[in-house]
């Protein structure tokens, strides 16, 4: 009996030492491709830094003005189109010029103030002001019209008060709603917080699918897989080291980008527990590397790997909820989101990093990731074993 146990103990330690050796081999192989290494480092540092610098708000939308009135009132209205949202492009003389500016993209809005604007206002009439908005980019078009609407609404309100001889002070004796906004988790709506985290998650996703898949297919393409197959290694011992080594690299990269980019450069408040975040990230990279292994079994060369990776990653990115809110997705796609591990990962990452939530609230996403992970990873392993046994 004792001998038997000693035997299994030996077997186990042999199993582990083989695993360790293979993991080291994978890491060495990665380390000897300087360009690949440089690419990975770039993705985790500079790329995230650059993405964090991208601003998503409407800034300095160019406004061209056709002012047919040239009065005090019209000038006051025009000067309300100010930065940060708007910037005055200048005055235009006729409609054609406005159309030309809009066509060429030099202006985004054309504000048209009718003649007798001030005269009609003093007379107590209602005056129409026209704004043409370039909505070829709907997001911007929407923001621009919404901000312009706000400016005109405020101006109109001020004019109404003025007409009735009321001042700002008398507002305190009037029935009205006062907006009090509080934005949680990102009070100043700093884009770089969202962008840098989102980019980091994208990088993790791309690498965790591509690296294991490439490591496996490269052996196939070069024929070195034959050497591995005649060695005493089991398919698990060939495959797990690829996943383990790449997960290690990715987690290291994540740590680097949090400590060197996210915190110092963008001051992202890491509100939750970092160890929980790394645990979740490890689970996530394991899950998606299952997808990578699946790709590896389907493809024969790296060109196929590259295209299959894109085919899987792109829908994942766009069904993740980072760019399109889940609640705005059409019905069927919304269900599809629940199948994407990235959806849970994004929910948890923003939860931990920005909202400071813990496992008590995020447990259902964690469960989702674990279930999907078991499913995807065992599917990948099953395919891989079937191919090589």
């Amino acid at each position: 009996m004792k001998k038997y146990f000693a035997g299994t103990g030996k077997m186990l330690s042999l199993w582990w030492s083989r695993l360790a050796t293979m993991t080291i081999k994978e890491l060495l192989q990665l380390g000897r491709d300087p360009l690949l290494l440089a690419a990975i480092i770039y993705l985790f540092t500079l790329d995230i830094y650059m993405a964090g610098g991208v601003n998503m708000q409407l800034n300095n939308a160019m406004v061209a003005v056709h002012d047919a009135d040239h009065s005090m009132a019209s000038r006051e209205l025009i000067y309300r189109f100010r930065p940060p949202y708007f910037k005055l492009k200048g005055e235009i003389l006729d409609e054609h010029e406005g159309t030309r500016l809009l066509d060429s993209g030099e202006a985004m809005l054309v504000l048209d103030i009718p003649s007798k604007f001030q005269h009609d206002l003093i007379q107590g009439k209602t005056v129409d002001v026209q704004i043409q908005v370039d909505t070829s980019n709907t997001v911007l078009g929407f923001l621009a019209s919404s901000y312009a609407g706000r400016i005109i609404g405020q101006y109109s309100f001020d004019m109404a008060l003025k007409r009735m001889g009321l001042t700002k002070e008398s507002l305190a004796e009037m029935p009205m709603l006062v907006d009090q906004h509080r934005v949680w988790y990102n009070p100043n709506q700093t884009d770089s917080w969202f962008m840098s985290i989102s980019e980091m998650l994208t990088v993790i996703t791309i690498l965790s699918i591509m690296l294991p898949a490439a490591a496996a297919v490269r052996e196939k393409e070069r024929g070195t897989i034959e050497q591995l197959l005649v060695s005493p290694l089991s398919p698990m011992q060939i495959l797990l080291p690829k996943v383990i080594s790449m997960t290690m690299v990715i987690l290291l990269g994540t740590a680097v980008s949090i400590l060197l980019i996210l915190e110092p450069a963008f001051h992202v408040p890491i509100r939750g527990s970092l160890s929980l975040f790394f645990l979740v990230s490890a689970l996530y990279t394991f899950t998606t590397s299952g997808l990578g292994l699946f790709i590896a079994t389907v493809s024969r060369n790296l060109a196929q790997v590259a295209m299959l990776t894109i085919l899987i990653i792109m829908p994942m990115l766009f069904l993740s909820g980072a760019w399109t809110p889940p609640e705005a997705m059409p019905g069927g796609l919304r269900q599809a989101m629940y199948l994407s591990p990235l959806y849970y990962y994004i929910e948890m990452s923003y939860g931990i990093l920005l909202k400071g939530t813990g496992i008590n609230i995020l447990w259902d996403s964690l469960l989702g990731i674990i279930l999907l992970g078991i499913l995807v990873f065992s599917f990948g392993v099953w395919r891989f074993r079937r191919q090589f046994e």
Binding site: L35, N55, A61, M176, L177, N186
Partner: protein, 384 residues
Amino acid sequence: MNMTRVRAVAGKECREILRDRLFLALAFLLPVSLMLVFCYGISLDVENIPFAALDYDQSSMSRDYLHRFIDSRYFDYKGSVRIERDLEPMLAHSDIRFAVIIPPKFQENLLAGRPVAVQSIIDGTFPFRTSTSKGYVIAINAEFNGELLAGYISRHLGVSQKQAAAMSQPVRLQLRYLYNQEMKSVWSIASAMMMFVLMVCPPFLTALGIVREKETGSIYNIYASTVTRGEFLIGKLAPYVGISVINILILWFMAASVFGAPFKGDPFFFFISSVIYVICTTGIGLLVSLIVRTQVAAMMLTTIVTIVPSMLYSGLLVPIASMDAESKFEAHLFPTMYYNEIALGSFLKGIGPDQLWGNALVLTLYAVVLWTLSYLLFHKRPKS
């Protein structure tokens, strides 16, 4: 330049593509599926924002005010809570993205002619959605205020409600949406997608081509043959440019018919610019292929130079105009921005070569530079 030799290299490459069934299928499947996923999947319209309400007043006026949110298609009512503390877990778990809090004595204060502060809590995780939600809230409040003001005027000056309403709003805004009157985001996405898909797919087709020959050693056949550098590069890439040109037509057809984006511009000009763009992006793949030594590195590098700029610096998600100087500079470095303007202009704006020739010229220059650089980097007598 010997055309027979170019044809021979191209023929060999074609046969290789045709025999790799999965690769061939992916070459056409990838663009189509990207187009489908994005156009059905990205809806940048912010709608159905889930929200909860906390009504301390429970009066008829507060209910009326609340119903403006509940009945709006922009909001999705998830229920009411009794105390503010209950809102926190809902926001943390993303069950709601926004909450409105109506203070006690809402009705009493308003009827007595006193201002009332209405609080809203908005989830700031996704800044773009936050500012849009804020916009909706402000619009609803402004409308309510307009009515309050009209009521106040009619009571104080003794005029009819209708007159008072006119008096409370002396300036009206007439908005005209140009180019995309119904604000259909799928139209702008469909045309922008042509830019994106044609940026991502051609480099991935070609990036591994030459480095694979290097890695497997079959490049020595070329080194030893009479084929010159230029002949080899042109012959090698011609089939991939061909595939991408077919993809242009497929994507164009999809954008126009499946997603109904109106094509108002000059079709000939658009086609020519698209071909130039594809030659550009194929050239990016070629350049990557020449710089790296291994296929894995080629994959990584292609991902870096294609996906990131086409998502971030093309104007697809982030407008060029609102970028800071640094990002703007980077946007001008990639061909995506120029082609995106051509695609949007041709599809939605209906403008032609007289306004877009500059962009087409930049693309041509880009292609020339890329191909010349590749020609200079490719040697038949490698150093090591």
